[in-house]
């Protein structure tokens, strides 16, 4: 019973965590590109 809610939580949690990691990764790439330009 209520399996759907449980799955929703797992998906939501990992979705947000991985999105945040993606955002930080984008910041890292941006910072690296800035350093390459003289």
């Amino acid at each position: 019973m209520f399996k759907g809610y449980f799955i929703a939580v797992i998906v939501a949690v990992w979705g947000v965590l991985l999105s945040y990691l993606g955002i930080v990764r984008t910041k890292e790439n941006k910072a690296r590109r800035k350093r390459e330009k003289p």
């Binding site: 809610y5 939580v9 949690v13």
Partner: protein
């Protein structure tokens, strides 16, 4: 990614991944299925560890903010920023998982339950923290202001919690009740999950520190 050049970081990430997978296996196959609540009750293994670790993150913000104001060394500001970001991501997750948990258990997604309400207020406070970093002007000033706000926010937490708790005494939530009913297994899996999320927090925090250090170096070099 540069971050994984350091062997310690790789090891930490792998251990965390292993624990995440083990945790999921434990929650899905080993955790007792509580009558009437069943799968919805298992949300508790994610929701409560998120809360404890968000709190840990915000205590970090307090400590690092004080350290920054006292020493003015940028590394403390980087630690504070990273702790604030990761703590707030967890805070957002509490606000997402809470209503999903509440709907099957209480019938309504949002019942102004004291803990969730406190979390919402906290989330708004930290949105303000990021706004002041964004609009606070040059780094020397915005980092200082953010540190002050970080201290104000942390000091406010207990006051917010007690005020909200007594504001709505008729709305109760008892995750602890479930814990005592089937104590041993539930408690062990809960503690495992708690520790797993602490590791997740630490991983995210360390990566953010790594990137923020890079960003700060760029900032300093363009000013020299």
């Amino acid at each position: 990614m540069d971050y994984f050049n350091h062997k310690g970081n790789v090891a930490l990430a792998l251990v965390t991944l292993a624990m995440v997978l083990t945790g999921l296996w434990l929650i899905i196959f080993v955790a007792p299925l509580i009558p009437e609540q069943e799968w919805a009750q298992r949300i508790f293994y994610y929701h409560v560890p998120l809360a404890w670790n968000a709190f840990l993150g915000y205590m970090g913000v307090l400590a690092f903010s004080i350290a920054y104001l006292v020493t003015r060394k940028p590394k403390w500001d980087i630690y504070a920023l990273s702790a604030a970001e990761t703590g707030t991501v967890f805070c957002l997750l509490i606000l997402i998982t809470g209503p999903i948990w509440a709907k099957p258990i209480w019938g309504e997604a949002w019942t102004w339950e004291p803990r969730l309400t406190t979390t919402l207020i906290l989330f708004l406070v930290y949105v303000g923290y990021f706004m002041i970093r964004e609009f606070g002007g040059p780094y020397e000033r915005s980092s200082r202001y953010a540190a002050v706000l970080g201290i104000l926010a942390a000091v406010d937490i207990p006051l917010i919690y007690f005020a909200v708790d007594f504001w709505a005494p008729q709305v109760q939530s008892h995750p602890q009740r479930d814990m005592s009913a089937h104590s041993s297994t539930v408690l062990k899996i809960f503690l495992f999950s708690l520790f797993t999320f602490t590791l997740i927090l630490i991983n995210m925090y360390k990566y953010r520190v790594h990137v923020a250090t890079l960003e700060l170096k760029n900032l300093e070099e363009t000013h020299v």
